[in-house]
Symmetry: C2
Subunit: 182 residues, 2 copies
């Protein structure tokens, strides 16, 4: 692959992440404009809009997965779990699309996104188990509902206008429900 082609691919991905972050209904032209390339170039790298969307989605899922994996090695599993949770919600707040991405990850994505999503959930699941073993999260909470809470909190934060203080108080209520009963 020629150097300029690789460069353009990068720039397109970055632009797409930003544009689709506002709305996935944005046009491919918008992405090309922001990336500073022609429309044809976008379609040469990503033959269809769906593939472009999926590339962005995959990128985000991979980043989340990496973050989760890093945190899995932390000394305090409880802190690691709650920090990851907060970070996902915080990023969702500033970038609308991630919530959509999280939602779509479980439904009908392509192969790459599917796998990245699965790995991310796997890594998050391990954070959860470790936090439960350390007593920071109640043992009777199972993965599906905790994951649903993660997705829901992300979406709730983006939908209602994401005031930082409100978001933190919302998370505080959520975390109180996740901690072991006395």
């Amino acid at each position: 692959m020629r150097a300029d082609a690789r460069d353009n691919r990068e720039r397109i991905l970055t632009a797409a992440e930003q544009v689709f972050g506002r709305s996935t209904a944005a046009s491919t032209d918008d992405v090309a404009k922001l990336a500073g390339v022609g429309i044809a170039t976008v379609f040469r790298h990503f033959p269809t809009k769906v593939e472009l969307l999926e590339a962005v989605l995959t990128l985000r899922l991979q980043r989340l997965r990496d973050t989760a994996r890093e945190l899995a090695g932390a000394s305090n599993p409880g802190t690691a779990f709650y920090e990851f949770f907060s970070q996902v919600v915080a990023e969702a707040g500033s970038k609308l699309a991630i919530a959509e991405a999280l939602g779509a990850a479980g439904s009908a994505p392509g192969e790459h996104a599917r796998q990245a999503g699965a790995e991310m959930r796997q890594a998050f699941g391990e954070l959860l188990v470790k936090a439960q073993r350390s007593g920071a999260v109640r043992a009777d909470a199972q993965f599906p509902e905790v994951y649903a809470l993660l997705v829901g909190a992300s979406r709730g934060a983006t939908a209602t206008g994401l005031d930082v203080e409100v978001r933190d108080r919302m998370l505080s209520l959520l975390y109180d429900g996740l901690r072991p009963r006395r």
Copy 2:
């Protein structure tokens, strides 16, 4: 207004609720087809697609408002609060659009929807206050974060595939966070 016109208006609204419940990106033709009328009839009653969407949204918000008001008279304020919460989430599960509606209600809707949304939040706020006075909900929880949780839980339930058991366990975790600390 002639009787057939009123009938058609009803049928269009019902069809729109169903069609847009799946996706707000659906076309106006789809609504007309399902309602069994011509496209022109839809546009005669609702001059623009946005107005049609808003009419559906208003309808839903009004129904929720009415439910909340009914429950405000219940003998057990705690039960009333949690039941309303669960009901909103359950309906959101089967009808994707209501979550979008709840989110949009706070942002940039038309006058009717704005007012219906405000009334709905007002009624929900009263349910919350009464539940707090009765000791069923912790007193330090404020409205914005509780509302954010409601929206988030709705969206989370729809996004992750709404298995009834998972949803109930998710709500159970949430409610434990909302109950007074011991």
